[in-house]
């Protein structure tokens, strides 16, 4: 390594600050709260990580602020990759991750910034349907590499219901992101600023290469294109239909309004939202609405989520765990809705048994769309019940 020490991590809660300097042997100095209790554990993690990476001589100075093992090992790996770019080999581990169904419940996707251990801690505990680990907008340029390594270690350590990583565009750091995070076997990759079928296809190809390299089933990784530009909106149909990896498409209102030179109101976004839902449904994939930025306004969140649900969206983004419950409550059918749906279905079955073509319930005609909606309600109810 160069003679300059490398400093990685932070003094933030749940993180650690690691300095690596040249040394003739492996030396570790630790400063931590509850030092007598935690020092040995920290040492074990550092030694194990260095050993796997093939580094036998370096001096580590660690200021621990309560970092969990996956944070610690990620910081050590980042520091060693930076200090010994030629020698250090990246950490790989076999990750067993249960596959999820294409059409599973995706009422919520919870964002967490990829380089913030404090906000990542417990990300798996809030009942979000999809966890979205972000390497793009919430991560400053100089932290990109630390973030993708941290996200990889988190993925290797935690069992997530459905784990997604939002990578940077393939035109910037996207490929580097994939090199790391695919080692953590996420269920899917979010493609920001998707603007064409070609964007999706090139990600799909990159994923196939990675899957082959890692020996995981090819085409097993999902894609969630994020449509958040004028061009993306107009090409929504081809984006949704571009690849069978696409299981859900999401809408990004902030970037979209900026691109349009518009202001964010429901009416102003109605075209883009409707376009996206129509494109998604025509390709038989799910649509997930944009995030609601005002954390303190739960009523506003619920109102916007209801509008999205009524447009046909299957879910909505969340920027804080506290938004999950309100979102889920909107997307879960009410008792009355379930009762109504059961009546519709039993009436339809009755009609079929009797060989009647058309059937009415309470004076209303039950046609195919009504029946479909009832089935969907019951399916959602069943999935919600199972998800509890």
């Amino acid at each position: 390594m160069s003679t300059q020490p490398v400093k990685i991590g932070s003094e933030g809660k749940g993180d650690c600050l690691i300095t690596v300097a040249p040394s003739a042997s492996l030396k570790i100095e630790i400063e931590a709260g509850n030092a007598r209790l935690v020092e040995r554990g920290i040492r074990i993690v550092i030694e194990a990580t260095a050993e796997v990476m093939g580094i036998t001589a370096a001096k580590f100075t660690v200021l621990d602020r309560g970092a969990l093992d996956y944070v610690l090992s990620a910081r050590v790996e980042t520091a060693l990759q930076t200090a010994f770019p030629e020698v250090a080999s990246p950490i790989r581990r076999t990750v067993e991750r249960a596959a999820t169904a294409r059409d599973r419940l995706r009422r919520s996707r919870l964002y967490a910034p990829g380089n913030n251990p404090r906000l990542l801690a417990g990300i798996d505990l809030h009942d979000a349907d999809c966890i979205l680990l972000d390497l793009e907008d919430s991560v400053p340029l100089q932290e990109k590499s630390a973030a993708r390594i941290l996200v990889k270690h988190l993925l290797m350590a935690l069992d997530l219901p459905e784990a997604w990583v939002r990578i940077n565009p393939l035109s910037s750091y996207g490929a580097d992101d994939l090199d790391e995070v695919m080692l953590g076997r996420p269920h899917g990759i979010c493609l920001p600023k998707a603007e064409s079928a070609a964007d999706v296809e090139s990600l799909s190809q990159a994923l196939s290469e990675k899957e082959r390299e890692l020996g995981t089933p090819v085409r097993s990784t999902y894609i969630m294109p994020i449509v958040e530009t004028a061009k993306g909106t107009l090409h929504a149909e081809e984006i949704c239909a571009a690849d069978e990896r696409v299981v859900v498409v999401s809408f990004g209102a902030e970037d979209f309004t900026r691109d349009m030179g518009a202001r964010r109101t429901h009416d102003n976004l109605l075209f883009a939202r409707s376009m996206l839902v129509a494109a998604a449904k025509s390709a038989r994939v799910q649509a997930s609405d944009t995030v609601y930025a005002d954390l303190t306004d739960e009523a506003g969140l619920i109102a916007e989520t209801k509008l999205a649900r009524d447009l046909g969206f299957d879910g909505k983004g969340a920027i804080n765990p506290r938004q999950i419950e309100p979102i889920h409550s909107v997307f879960s059918p009410s008792e009355e809705e379930i009762e109504e749906a059961m009546k519709v279905i039993s009436a339809a079955e009755e009609a079929e048994r009797k060989g009647m073509g058309a059937v009415a319930l309470g004076g209303k005609m039950i046609d195919r769309p009504v029946l479909e909606r009832a089935r969907r309600t019951l399916r959602l109810a069943r999935l919600t019940e199972e998800g509890r």
């Binding site: 007598r36 209790l37 602020r65």
Partner: protein
Amino acid sequence: MKNALGREIPKRIDGRALHPFQGAFGTEPSGRKVARPQKFIGLNENKVLHSIEDAIEAAGLKSGMTISFHHSFRDGDRLVNMVVDACARMGLKDLRLFPTALFSVHVPLIEHIENGVVTRIEGSMNGPIGAFVSQGGKLAAPAVLRSHGARWRAVEAGDVKIDVAFIAAAQADPYGNATGISGKTPCGPITFSAVDAMYAEKTVVVTNDLAPYPVYPFEIQQGWTDYVVVVDEIGDPESIASGTLKITRSPTRLRIARLAAAAVVASGYLMDGFNFQGGAGGISLAATKFVGEEMEKAGIIGGFAMGGGTELVVDMLHQGTVRTILDGQAFDLAAIASLREDPNHVIMDPGHYANYDSRGCSTYMLDAAFLGATEVDLAFNVNVNTHSDGQLLHGIGGHQDVASGAKMTVITIPSLRGRLPVIVERVTTVTTPGEVVDVVATERGIAVNPRREDLKERFLAAGLPVRELAEIKAEADRLTQPPRRPIFGDEVVAIIEWRDGTVIDAVRRVVGWE
């Protein structure tokens, strides 16, 4: 000898025989309470003295005696240091301190311990003094930790004879009536000292605000008070009570609070007349808020709230969500103001709250309570006194009293603090036995004591994430290398009393590390 929990406790300390813990309600008191000597007081008696030194002299305080204090001024308290400094100047030695609790502000005591001025402490030790005493060999006898209720009982039973009670008062009159809720620097009720005032050989009220007779409410009464001393400062207003206590913003802690509140809702106890204990910790505060919201939504009117007055419960009182607040201590300025203004915000003393040897405790009227812990073990035993490294860090407060009384005790804890697991195989120290702990709410789910299958069924029916404590532990343990564990020697640095005066555990000196 071993007690009912299998904990090894000493037979005697400091010449006093100890009795092993036999279960939460395992003993019955007998005999009579002790009493202070009679004293004649004529007309025109002047009780006002001009200095602490005068009071020490008048009260006849000698080396080897016991002096007591309350902690209502918390980290802003000036009196403990003032009195012990004066004792040191006057050449007194070998004093036993019997405070309700000591805080960081009392760090100068360390020097007095090293110089032999103070040789015994029976009371809660928060922070640096606990850490100092834990080193072992510092005190002539092990420290004794008691809950609010147990301290009251120990005085009445004669386990602790107080020679001079020093009582910091925010306001007092020259005849010895005193309060904590009015005056220049109010601190909330000072009824923690009521038992001291009634039972001490001599009672000294110390105030920075001498007001005309009569000062009321009579938290401390003229009939108990021997002397009144006026000083310039009794407490630092900055450190007495917080402006506003902050509800936690951590998503993990909020989740714990939500689950704890959901457990209360699902328990079947939440109905008109619901009595509960909140608290001032970030998680309990949030859980209390969520329960309040549920009550409002359902139109439920609670009976009483207790656990320390806070702006949050005062708001609930004002909105009519609870009928009454029973208050032994006030944590913020809004609560102190409400004690002066709201007739349904009632001052209570620890005897009323929680005395085992009495004819009734408010804690026995509780439906639900939220309590914290430094550790919980797989038998639902709770430790609030020591850290996982064996250091004494906190007092018991009302933990034992509330857990024993409440129909449903919910321990609200994160499964990890930093790299340290909170759920352990066996707690370092038992403060409160698993037999009185019903529910443990963590961010990874809710564990229910096997004794409470009824609650478990209700929680499951409500769709709450009920899990085994061992399962939650295993999940948290996967995230960090296990911490080292201390090795304890034979020297006992403190004993933990149960509510009835039996000993539930002993804290031993750490002699090494596994």
